[in-house]
């Protein structure tokens, strides 16, 4: 169906169900319970899951298929974001032009950087992309301040022209919308003690994710994808057979750059601000972590990795000592303090530490990432059953 094999179609269907029901799945704990802190079903985080999922899928097309490790993909995310905010400022508050232009701008930008960086491979390629991204970051943070808003970032303002909308209206900056439907608009549904939030912006992102996920599957299964895998396994041999790998790697680089730009465009459509740190090397490193954590070269892996990292960043970082004491208040005071003392370094500002530990465990024990691990588990189960 849709030009997919049965397995791939089922996978797409699985992802469809997952993203459609995410507001319900991610809120497993009733409102007001002790564990409500772990609920992730609020619009901002759900949007982030999906947007970084798109970013990671795109990155995986380059890294997973060709093996070229780009350490500067955040530059395209940032370029897309800036382009998106400018569209919201100049053209219209409708998000469609912003999303399209940000993808295009990031595509052009990645064509330029890819053309130069892909003259080298391996570590030299990584360093070149890193250098370009850091250059973009430094430029955006200082020299290009008139265009990027510098360190403060670029925001929409009351006196923006917005040519298609006819300029300023009222005393408030309009919120990004899709033909009048505001991205921030949510329907809240209460079922018993549970509250589920169905957010317009999230479903727009989810819709885009499904499309780009479908495109990624098609790329993975196409002859073009096969060629990319050939480059990863042995690009020298490919050259000896008379095929130049560069047009293929460049195409993969631009495609993944456009994915990043699309993610950047969606980010500003959800929240119209673009800051230079979006281009910093830490942001580029994050997407590498996402891919490795989830499983490099797998389709679902990067999305999973993106989800886990964003979950840690947003949920674990907000657990403070007060909450810990509340959770363990049923214990005698001495033991309570000891337990809180033990957990303390791993939550709140220590969320990086828990994430790092998890990353180490995955890399050491599950070299194929989480998806690789799950696949291995299934294979073992089925083998046992068939015996």
């Amino acid at each position: 169906m849709l030009g997919l094999s049965r397995n791939d179609f089922l996978m797409l269907l699985f992802v469809l169900v997952l993203v459609a029901a995410a507001p319900i799945i991610l809120n497993p704990f009733p409102e007001g319970s002790n564990f409500a802190q772990f609920n992730a079903g609020y619009p901002d985080l759900m949007q982030r899951f999906v947007i970084f999922g798109i970013f990671a899928i795109g990155f995986n097309i380059l890294f997973g298929l060709t093996g070229y490790l780009s350490f500067g993909h955040a530059a395209f995310l940032g370029a897309g974001s800036y382009a998106g905010v400018w569209m919201l400022k100049l053209l219209t508050i409708n998000v469609i032009p912003a999303i399209i232009i940000s993808t295009v701008v990031a595509g052009i930008f990645s064509l330029f950087i890819g053309f130069i960086s892909l003259r080298r491979s391996g570590i030299y390629f990584s360093i070149l992309t890193l250098a370009f991204a850091q250059m973009s970051f430094a430029l955006a943070a200082s020299v290009l301040t008139p265009i990027t808003g510098g360190e403060t970032g670029l925001q929409t303002a009351l006196n923006d022209p917005r040519v298609l909308d006819g300029g300023a209206t009222g005393g408030n900056i309009p919120a990004p919308s899709l033909f009048g439907l505001e991205m921030g608009h949510s329907w809240k549904v209460a079922v018993g003690d549970w509250i589920w939030t169905f957010n317009v912006g999230y479903y727009l992102c989810a819709f885009v994710l499904l499309i780009v996920f479908y495109i990624a599957i098609r790329i993975f299964r196409s002859p073009f994808g096969m060629m990319l895998k050939a480059i990863k396994s042995n690009s020298q041999r490919l050259s000896y057979t008379g095929i130049s790998p560069r047009p293929y790697t460049l195409a993969a680089f631009v495609i993944s750059g456009m994915y990043a730009g699309l993610a950047g465009g969606l980010m500003v459509a959800m929240d119209p601000l673009a800051g230079p740190e979006r281009m910093q090397w830490t942001a580029s490193g994050e997407v590498v972590l996402m891919s490795i954590l989830g499983g490099v070269g797998t389709l679902v892996g990067p999305v999973l990795g993106a989800g886990i990292i964003k979950y840690f960043e947003n949920i674990f970082s907000k657990i403070n000592d007060g909450l810990l004491h509340q959770w363990f208040s049923f214990m005698p005071d001495g033991i309570e303090n000891v337990i809180v003392g033990i957990i303390h370094p791993f939550v709140g500002k220590g969320w990086h530490l828990s994430l790092g530990l998890m990353f180490m465990l995955v890399v050491i024990f599950l070299p194929g990432g989480l998806v690789g691990g799950i696949n291995g588990l299934f294979r073992r189960l089925f083998r046992r059953r068939s015996q």
Binding site: E151, T152, G153, R278, N314, S317
Partner: protein, 449 residues
């Protein structure tokens, strides 16, 4: 599941499944769409508590300030809920706060890490608003973050009470109807410092600026430049330094050859500590230029910076929003309760955050509501006293507080590790007041979600 194992010994049919699921759904209670009209405004507190969002840097360059801000907020919550000794609530000129929370609701709070990055700060603030139902966001230790979070609060429809942010833009070109700032700004620093500098160093000086290459650096350089040039100083050069710079020797070396006799360090936090240290190591403090002693100026000072720079701050002029050695009743009460709880005196970041929390609670009481528009109206034009800075006005036109500014100097003989700055002069508010329209920008209208 096979029907043979079913304990009810009944075959499972489509009909029975439908019946059972319908019944169980009814037990769980029918799904109910909550209409947005159920709330008069975003995150309207319905129960017996109200949630505030404390968004402070817990990692990155300003983590020290962030930790101190969080301490101050915890203290403020304690006092608002009627625990502790009440701190500045006793000296505050408005007597609405009774120690029974805000409008009778117990104050609860959530915390988040801004990482001193606008993006992360907005994500953290959004999760507080969307997930935790925070009715007010406060905190932060950089102007970039303050401007970004202020914009978000305006869009979302909650009040933003800025923490430490010194750039003119926060209540200048980027001001928002839902945002309020108690801290002073670059303009006020410049206006307060200039006369003192003229007295100490004369009217014929040649200044060399090193400026942190970001928003706050630009506005501070501009403010100090304008006010010193008005009294006759000349600006030789203004060089931008990257925010991430740690070694400033290559920026310091050319200064002596430039013909300048004053160095202005428009740096904050670790930047200032490093640049000042290398300026002193290069012997600038003992140097002579144009027949005068070479001098160094740090427009925005903080105790934490003075501590970092150690010996090198002795005799160096700067300005600050508040200092724990102030002897008014409000400051004494605050230093006492902060000191008793944590064992050391509070920083200016802690002070402004504590005050902002109290001002917000008081505005809610006076407005009789948590509605951002009502609270905003209560804060606009509000005049108060007893919070450590003398009589203060929350100006309605730009939501900026106007109060006395402290000009300080690094102490020559510190008696303790906290006693590093001495107050040279308290510049009255009237001298640092400016016209609200000079920085441009528009407040817009208040948004309650």
């Amino acid at each position: 599941m096979s029907s043979a194992k079913n304990p009810l010994k009944k075959p499972v049919t489509r009909r029975s499944v439908l019946k059972a699921s319908a019944a169980s759904a009814a037990v769980v209670s029918a799904p109910m769409i909550i209409p947005s009209s159920a709330h008069a405004y975003l995150n309207e507190p319905k129960g017996s508590s109200v949630t505030l969002g404390f968004n402070v840097p817990q990692s990155g360059a300003y983590a020290d300030e962030g930790a101190d801000e969080l301490r101050a907020y915890e203290l403020a919550v304690e006092h608002l809920n009627g625990d502790g000794d009440g701190g500045m609530m006793n000296t505050f000129s408005s007597k609405e706060l009774k120690g029974n929370g805000i409008l009778g609701r117990k104050v609860e709070y959530v915390t988040g890490d801004t990482q001193t990055k606008p993006d992360a700060a907005r994500a953290s603030a959004r999760s507080m608003i969307e997930k935790d139902g925070a009715i007010m966001i406060t905190g932060g230790s950089s102007s970039g973050v303050a401007v970004a979070v202020q914009g978000l609060c305006q869009e979302a429809g909650v009040i933003f009470m800025a923490g430490l942010t010194h750039s003119n833009d926060t209540t200048g070109k980027d001001k928002k109807a839902n945002g309020f700032r108690h801290f002073f700004n670059s303009y006020m620093s410049g206006a307060a410092l200039a006369p003192i500098l003229a007295d100490a160093y004369g009217n014929e000086r040649r200044a060399y600026h090193l400026t942190a290459d970001y928003n706050w650096g630009y506005t501070t350089e501009e403010a100090v430049r304008t006010s010193t040039e008005e009294m006759g100083w000349e600006t030789v050069a203004a060089v931008k330094t990257p925010l991430s710079q740690t070694d400033f020797s290559s920026y310091i070396a050319p200064i002596q050859a430039s013909g300048a006799d004053v160095l202005v360090l428009n740096h904050y936090g670790a930047n200032m500590v490093n640049s000042l240290t290398s300026a002193v190591q290069f012997g600038l403090r003992n140097a002579e230029a144009n027949g005068k002693n070479f001098e160094i100026i740090v427009p925005l000072y903080s105790r934490l910076m003075a501590k970092g720079a150690g010996e090198n701050v002795k005799g160096i002029f700067g300005s600050t929003n508040w200092h724990w050695s102030l002897q008014d009743e409000g400051s004494k009460a605050f230093v006492k309760s902060f000191g008793e709880k944590y064992g050391f005196p509070p920083s200016q970041a802690a002070h402004t955050c504590y005050v902002q929390a109290l001002l917000y609670a008081d505005a809610c009481e006076r407005a009789g509501s948590h509605d951002p528009c009502a609270v905003g109206a209560a804060l606009e034009g509000f005049e108060f006293d007893g919070l450590g800075n003398g009589p203060t006005l929350y100006r309605a036109e730009d939501h900026q507080c106007f109060k006395d500014v402290l000009v300080v100097k690094g102490k020559e003989n510190p008696t303790s590790e906290f006693d590093l700055l001495e107050i040279v002069e308290v510049t009255p508010a009237a001298k640092v007041t400016y016209d609200a329209s000079i920085f441009g920008g528009e407040l817009g209208s208040c948004n309650s979600g």
